[in-house]
């Protein structure tokens, strides 16, 4: 099964990337949340900042790969969903995450 092998490799590779992104994200959250959160405070840090733009872009792409592949076996093992329609749903979820995620990145960082 070549396709399953490719998915496995993609899942582990994106997991490694996310291990770094999530660690940074958790530290950022704990720092940012102190004293309350406002849009202005967030944007003061992120708007026009190429570093955050790059970071969150990588984060979104990794998530768009990782989350759908992760859900895939759950759909089969717990909902009995198999075959073509499952693959289409998983792909659609990936596209949706990429779209919504990049939209959010551009609003927050550009």
């Amino acid at each position: 099964m070549r396709s399953d092998t490719v998915l496995w490799i993609a899942q582990r590779a994106s997991a490694a990337v996310l291990a770094l992104c999530v660690t940074v994200h958790l530290l950022t959250i704990v720092y940012a949340v102190r004293g309350g959160l406002t849009a202005a405070e967030i944007f003061a840090r992120t708007r026009g900042n190429a570093g955050w733009l790059a970071f969150y872009t990588v984060f979104v792409i990794a998530v768009a790969v990782h989350a759908p592949i992760g859900l895939r076996p759950v759909l089969t093992e717990w909902l009995g969903w198999r075959g073509r329609t499952r693959e289409w749903f998983v792909a659609a979820f990936a596209v949706a995450l990429l779209w919504m995620g990049m939209r959010a990145v551009l609003v927050v960082c550009r």
Partner: protein, 238 residues
């Protein structure tokens, strides 16, 4: 230790019920002793399996208080809290009757995983030289003692969620062959064990490793298969 055990035993097949028996308790008593007492002294209609009764054959595997075990190697003192035992056949296998399961799917999956050796040498060739301390041979040796008892298969959640899943024993055997430098069937075998029904379906619950009576680790073997399949795929061999 004297007294009585209250033992609930599964009777029937898919449709069935738990039947209660009272069994005298003795020191150093095993669960196999208990089942044998029931069948010989109380209820001769009870069906169950055993053979060696000394922890070598794996025939006596069944579910004891929710956990798959070899009954000949399970002391009653270790599992009968408050003097109660519940005995059921192994999980994930069709029930023939009472405590006896149909192990055909278990062995069919062994074959589907290409769990047999294929060599190229003939009797006129010299012996193969395999260094016992080579990493590949150590990897094979770590899993080679499997006697096909089915405890890991019964313990595995993925087997119960996905009927196609080859399962820990078949995959463990495939790994010992993938690690065998004399075997010539590696690529076909890697193709057979990859995918949703193969090694990629293992979610490292490690119930197999926790329950294996021979202390093997199918989880480690399956991790080895995952790496081997990925490597073969990246090298364009699959």
């Amino acid at each position: 230790m004297s007294g009585t055990l209250r033992v609930s035993v599964w009777r029937g097949a898919v449709a069935g019920h738990l039947q209660s028996y009272e069994v005298p308790r003795h020191p150093s008593q095993t669960v196999l002793d208990v089942v044998t007492h029931i069948q010989r002294k109380i209820d001769p209609t009870l069906a169950y399996r055993y053979a060696c009764r000394v922890g070598m054959c794996g025939s006596c595997a069944m579910t004891v208080n929710g956990v798959p075990r070899w009954t000949c190697r399970t002391h009653v003192d270790k599992v009968a809290a408050a003097g109660r035992l519940e005995l059921r056949p192994l999980r994930n296998l069709p029930i023939v009757r009472d405590l006896v399961t149909d192990m055909r799917t278990f062995f069919d999956k062994w074959e589907r995983a290409q769990g047999h050796f294929e060599g190229a040498a003939t009797k006129t060739d010299d012996f193969a030289r395999v260094a016992p301390d080579s990493p590949a041979r150590q990897a094979a040796d770590a899993g080679i003692e499997c006697i096909g008892c089915g405890v890991c298969y019964a313990a595995c959640d993925v087997v119960s969620w996905n009927p196609d899943y080859l399962g820990p024993a078949a995959l463990n055997r495939a790994w010992t062959l993938v690690s065998d430098v004399r075997d010539t069937n590696s690529v076909e075998r890697l193709r057979a064990i990859a995918g949703d029904a193969g090694c990629h379906a293992c979610h490292t619950h490690m119930s197999c490793t926790e329950r294996c009576p021979k202390h093997l680790s199918p989880t480690a073997s399956i991790a080895g298969l995952k790496r081997a399949v990925a490597k073969a795929a990246l090298q364009g061999k699959l």
